[in-house]
């Protein structure tokens, strides 16, 4: 299963693209995706503890543009967005 993770805000610094791709052998929940993103950030940016902290504090949203909780199931190829802490206006 392929999950495309769209990046916003500080998370855009994770890649030169606007997204990251993850492959999973079985169905997962958002909490599993979060762990994978944490692993990716820890490996790619070991010096930057702020990035890891931001992933821990981030929400995720579905293709329907709804905020989805840690127990939300991902069982098919899809796009998910990471929503780090916000501050517009």
């Amino acid at each position: 299963m392929k999950i495309k993770l769209e990046l916003f805000g500080v998370c855009r610094e994770f890649s030169d693209n606007d997204f990251l791709n993850f492959d999973f052998d079985e169905d997962i929940e958002i909490k599993d995706l979060r762990k994978e993103v944490e692993k990716f950030v820890s490996k790619q940016f070991p010096e930057n503890k702020n990035f890891l902290e931001m992933v821990k504090k981030s929400a995720f949203s579905s293709e329907a543009n709804e905020i989805i909780g840690d127990d939300f199931k991902l069982n098919k190829n899809q796009t998910v967005s990471i929503i780090p802490p916000i501050g517009g206006g």
Binding site: E6, F8, G9, V10, R12, E13, K57, S58, A59, S61, N65, I67, S81, I83, P84, P85, I86, G87, G88, G89
Partner: protein, 147 residues
């Protein structure tokens, strides 16, 4: 009546003129404009501009939900609102957000405008990267989004 948009400042401009035209209504006796601009300092640093990032679809959805919440919570009469937020680089003094509202009476427009901006701060996925004198930049920390 409601209008909202995320404005890519590389392609378009946020202007009060558009807001004025939209909220004009003979049913309303009061109108109010809130204009957010980029200021020159933050946390003892000299700011030269801000890059705004946005999840466009979620931002528009959030603006619509905030408008509907305002109507039901504030019991507004003849509410009209125009909300536009910038996306991209906004230089010092540039407009980041316009919230123009109109209602039947004056008390309601103050409440309505305040409600919208405070809810945007809590619920709308927009991010700021500040640019400082020199080449330094920093994404501002923000707060976890509320449903």
């Amino acid at each position: 009546m409601f209008h909202c948009e995320v404005i890519d400042v590389n392609k378009n401009k946020i202007t009060i003129v558009r807001a004025e035209k939209f909220i004009e209504s003979h049913k309303c006796g009061a109108s109010l404009y809130f204009v957010g601009t980029v200021r020159d300092h933050n946390n003892d640093k000299t700011v030269t501009g801000i890059t705004y990032d946005a999840h466009d679809a979620m931002v528009k959805k959030s603006f619509e939900e905030i408008y509907n919440d305002a109507i039901s919570k504030l019991k507004l009469e003849h509410p009209v609102a125009f909300v536009e937020h910038a996306k991209g680089y906004v230089p010092l003094g540039g407009i980041s957000v316009i919230i123009a509202v109109a209602c039947k009476h004056r008390a309601q427009v103050y409440e309505f405008s305040r409600f919208i901006i405070e809810e945007i701060k809590k619920k709308t996925p927009i991010w700021k990267k500040e640019h400082y004198q020199g080449e330094e930049t920093k994404w501002l920390e923000g707060k976890p989004i509320q449903k």
